[in-house]
Symmetry: C2
Subunit: 347 residues, 2 copies
Amino acid sequence: MGVKIKDVARVAGVSVTSVSRVLNKGEHVSEKLEKKVRQAIEQLNYSPSLIAKSLKRNKTNLIGVIIPDITSNFQATILSNIEETLGRRGYNLLVSNIVEDTDKVVKYLNVFQEMRVDGIVLMHEKLNDHIRLFLEKNQIPLVVHAELGLNLPTVMIDDFKAAYDATAYLIRKGHRRIAMIAGDMRDLCAGRKRYEGYLAACKDYGITVDESIIRFGDYKLASGYRLMNELLAEAGGSFTSVFAASDDMAVGAINCMADHQLRVPDDISVIGFDGNQMSDVIRPRLTTIQQPMDKIGQATVELLMELIEQNDHAQRSHPARTIVLEHELVEKASCRDIHERGGFLKS
Amino acid sequence: MGVKIKDVARVAGVSVTSVSRVLNKGEHVSEKLEKKVRQAIEQLNYSPSLIAKSLKRNKTNLIGVIIPDITSNFQATILSNIEETLGRRGYNLLVSNIVEDTDKVVKYLNVFQEMRVDGIVLMHEKLNDHIRLFLEKNQIPLVVHAELGLNLPTVMIDDFKAAYDATAYLIRKGHRRIAMIAGDMRDLCAGRKRYEGYLAACKDYGITVDESIIRFGDYKLASGYRLMNELLAEAGGSFTSVFAASDDMAVGAINCMADHQLRVPDDISVIGFDGNQMSDVIRPRLTTIQQPMDKIGQATVELLMELIEQNDHAQRSHPARTIVLEHELVEKASCRDIHERGGFLKS
DNA sequence: CTGAAAGCGCTTACAG
DNA sequence: CTGAAAGCGCTTACAG
């Protein structure tokens, strides 16, 4: 680098003020002046510094995103939607992949703060005291993808209801012994709420919850495989269906069953959660709770823009808005109605 | 916000110079002074502005990454590795998802330039005149993930040889009618080179290339499905195996075959390319060319750091270094040796 | 060991 | 319509 606005001004024979005006197309400048400036810019291959501009304007047009696992197709799809929506509004994306490390979240929140990002998207669902403290102390526009109980602006689906729907769906298909491969209980929505939805549906339909057919994983494929392996070893034959808290775990479970010569849905029915790419790749296709990833991305950006707007006008007393989007139970081919056969259970 | 270094200095009763010294731990300051400063920082919840620092230091610690499709597991995995390696060195990641749009590449290269990123990673493989022009004019440290013929620093595998190996593997298993689901010929490596590797292997082994069993896709699952559908409709029964230029296309092809009641590898053998997550999820497991994604990420960062170092010392006359990493043909269960049965072909 | 002051590259009242 | 000058929040020679 090295060519700056001053150089352009010199070459064009005008003031830096005028060059700045041409660049920012705000106030009117004469055609002649504009032409001279454009020529000088071209000639010098001048690229204005957004760093200097940001410092002066107190606005970076940067959005920081904290994402637990970018290799998750579900999360990457949402990120991609956020990026696209943001790009159309002239914002750039600072991305921090967190790899399940809660301490890193605080570290990156601080970096974002130091980078003076205009807003933050927090896709992480685990909380610790440091995170809580940061969020209390710093009033930077922020949208979360889970109900953290901190009265923050949120975009999400109703995880409780979605899990309830999934479980009730199996029950209505005649299943009464439904295993669950749940998530991480430290995750407030994807973990806890989905688990609670499962419990509530069982309760409402008069099914006694049996903890021996419930396992807790990390949403990834490998853990679905491993936990299904455990379930088959320790409780095999005692359940007719499985509800997994993520599609990846559902797919892992299906693969595990295949390796045990069990057929889905003939021997065991499976329902997943997310509606990611894999759910359509696996055979049989996975019946699952579809999350509206495009809408999640868009709503996140819209909400963030609102907050940034408010922030610019120093009116930050609004109560935190929560956007709850609709999920959809998409029937594919991994669940069977077992009314007619009575199940292969004793009971 | 609003608290700046001056405020800290005032509260601590020292100069801004001293606050800056405490912050940057460069020169020695007395314990007493440091303590006062730290207290003031704590009390005011001060967060230094990296924007101001960047402007002054002429260094942003920002790396821009242009990625064609972040929802591709292969690319996301590499990005994740880059992010992690970079994070440990104190760099942050500016990400631009390009969605196959060559024009957007130039747009984002310019944004990166304006953001004064210290370096750029370009995972895109298509070139146009605007991109070429940008790369010529601007000497910002940059690492590409493909041989673009522009003498740029590069990290990649030998796509030609890898594709050659994949094809030769099938040939040695007795296949002589090998369909190919290739990539985009505008992509210099993943597209062209893999195609050329296939052609070369066929030639070396005395196999006449038949263009009627070659198709060109976009690496994504859906195109693999669609093109396999075409192949079956137009040339079904005339080939015993398929080489796909990406695992995603290979999986799409396998699913298509499944929907046609064709079994892999009994009826048709399939070999993929990448070694992504899906290749281990699909049944049968996919025999594929494994790319070393972790090493690609690490080598990319190392090379970039070298370039940035050189750039800082204004010695940019080094010839562009190219790092070629080893691929590996990983045998799983999707290819069959057909010597013993002679194939179900006439020939 | 500590501080006053210049300057990084812009924007934006203010004046003309 | 145009320009001179102050200032955004830091760092860094330079002097003491």
